[in-house]
Symmetry: C2
DNA sequence: TGCGTTTCTTAATTGACTTTACAAACCGAA
DNA sequence: TTCGGTTTGTAAAGTCAATTAAGAAACGCA
């Protein structure tokens, strides 16, 4: 066990200042002093440190009504960036994201025939072209964040179950990670795609210490769970696998199957049952289509809220996007009916939360490392 | 905002040492140094501090095979105690609990005609008699912890919904708290009864930083949720109100009602439906009785586990106690069938987790206050 | 008695913060 | 123009709680 010492205090305070700066906008040392409660000599030292690290830049004088003008400072958004990648079943998405969460133009490519091709051929090409196009300094790019559609254990580097990317069983992807990291000389960080998405949505909403449940309705259904500002991974790194949920009052022993919820809410089921492709649709507005999905979804949401008493549930994924507002309103109405507690069911705000989240994980680590450097 | 300063480091380290001591058994300064990673001068200072505060006592020399004998120390279990109280519908339970979690002989009394009588007449009498009987110093009793069957907001002191204690609507119980606190000159801490129970069970299992879901099956059904060692209260202090959960695939608009799960699993429903009183039964072993309860319960558990990926769910409450092992096994089998993730469904270990938890809340606060004292 | 080993303690040093004091910059009114 | 009030930024000294280093104390055993 490591004891708690002075440098931890330093890191906490540096981090407090950093989080305020990241909210955007200009501020002054004096304002930071007021907002954080940290004494002004310490704030000055921290700002000085961040300037040396290139994280902060001076931005002229402010103009208050009275007194000495403050020297305004702001975060240098491009002091660090990261590549965020999401592996979907059919596509790979990637972008470069900076400290402010600005997403530079993305790259979208069809996935390879198997994971190997995607990881060792297509993805490196995508990253190369992103790096070539990016208008940020190559050296400022701190790593690659990768979201994959399956449970992932970072200790073993094993993906436990991910049919979407054509894995038939538990697969260790450490070799791919290593190859990628070596090729670009950067750290590679992997997590589940929905976990990446909830992190991205959380960042896009500029939340801090809050709860956020993100439900991804796409090829399958999954949840990203942030409680008290922390992403929950769970005991076996499978938190949020809500596709396994069951809502049945006519239980028949031996005839129940895990995966009931996913059998109702999933892209191919919708395609088959209703004969259209939600990727390009507006006739999805048909009430029976939305009902077929919104009823179990509303039950799911209201059950989750009953358990956790969280205030915001965000819906994302391709089904959410294509089903439109009628669907959203239908879910809201049914949740309202079922759920005693108040909960706000919202559409995702971030255009591509997965990519943003994947990059954010890398950036968070990089910033943490920088902020705990000596001097 | 308060900045992070040196005394916070001190408190963290003191707390680290305290938690090790609380695990029970004897130890030495040298062993604490090894276990915590804190330097030995600091450990000595902390132990010295705790001795001054009466929290720690010397207990002779140890006997290693070689070298200087350590001066063993141990926690003074009775340095602090607290009264734990649980208000049930029909009964009031109270005990005095010490730092080790030892529960001194309890007091059980029938509840009053209304909350006022319970709180202002019966409970004070109970506490008086407990204090008279207790073999700990009166001054060591640091407060009264109170668990109530309803959602409770500590900021407003309002109980939002608690038919069991005959509240027909939101009720501010601040006056009762104040009266109790003044009468015994101690702080009074209130929380939901199931929250108290999960804290107690957690303490009884000597967990640290773990997850624990406690399901209370009694007059109603409720969950206590500890994630990462922290009790979750939720956004509106109603976390764990799983009675509102619904599992129905034959949803009819306008005919669904919140409270579906509680309508299935609850004491009076069992009494009425099966014509016996689970308080005194063994014929509860009837398969159809257990099935009627175990099916929805197993669905609930497996859904919760799918969402949170937590490893342990503990069943408690009067129904759990009276329905016996057949019921428990039935639940386990159905969870196994429904749930892809592994989860251990267990009976509660603690005899009276509510009372233990209620007292623990008070003790935790008292210890925190002591450990952040100067000198 | 002396040596190796472990435990506990003291003394000096370090790191990061705070308080205090003050210099710098700015505005507006006498 | 100067002077006082106000706000910002910096320097110096002091505080607090940790650490490292050194050594004293206690013990077993040859």
């Amino acid at each position: 066990m490591k004891s708690y010492i002075a440098s931890d205090v330093r890191d906490v305070n540096r981090n407090t200042v950093f989080r305020l700066l990241r909210l955007g906008g200009e501020t002054s040392r004096a304002e930071l002093t007021r907002l954080t409660g940290i004494s002004s000599p310490t704030v000055i030292k921290i700002v000085e440190f961040m300037k040396e690290k290139g994280l902060v830049e001076e931005s002229g004088a402010g103009s208050p009504t009275v007194g000495r003008k403050p020297q305004m400072i702001r975060l240098n958004k491009d002091a660090a960036s990261a590549v965020g990648v999401i592996l979907e079943g059919e596509y790979l998405r990637a972008s470069i994201v900076n400290l402010a969460g600005d997403i530079y133009p993305s790259s979208l490519r069809r996935a390879g025939a198997d994971l190997q091709e995607s990881m060792t051929v297509i993805l490196p090409e995508m990253i190369e072209s992103l790096l070539a196009l990016a208008h940020v300094d190559r050296a400022s790019i701190r790593g690659i964040g990768l979201g994959i559609p399956g449970g992932y254990d970072p200790n073993t580097h094993v993906v436990n179950f991910a049919p979407l990317i054509r894995l038939t069983g538990p697969t260790c992807i450490a070799p791919y990670e290593r190859a990628l990291g070596e090729r670009f000389a950067m750290p590679v960080v992997v997590d589940n795609d929905v976990n990446m998405a909830v992190l991205g949505e959380y960042r896009a909403r500029a939340l801090d210490g809050a709860d956020l449940i993100y439900l991804s309705l796409g090829t399958g259904i999954g949840a990203g769970v942030m409680l008290g500002g922390a992403l929950r991974h769970g005991n076996t790194w499978q938190c949020g696998e809500i596709g396994y949920m069951t809502f049945m009052d006519n239980y028949v022993p031996g005839h129940t199957h895990p995966g009931w919820l996913e059998s109702r809410i999933n892209l191919s089921a919708v395609r088959e049952k209703f004969g259209f492709d939600p990727y390009h649709v507006e006739k999805a507005l048909l009430p029976d289509v939305t009902d077929h999905i919104s009823v179990p979804l509303a039950i799911c949401i209201s059950n989750v809220v009953s358990l956790l008493d969280c205030d915001t549930v965000v819906l994302g994924g391709i089904l959410t996007q294509s089903l439109g507002n009628v669907f959203l309103e239908s879910v809201r109405a049914k949740v309202q009916e079922l759920c005693v507690l108040n909960v706000s069911v919202e559409r995702q705000l971030c255009v591509d939360p997965g990519v943003l989240g994947a990059a954010s994980v890398v950036l968070d680590r990089a910033i943490k490392a920088i902020l705990s450097e000596q001097e």
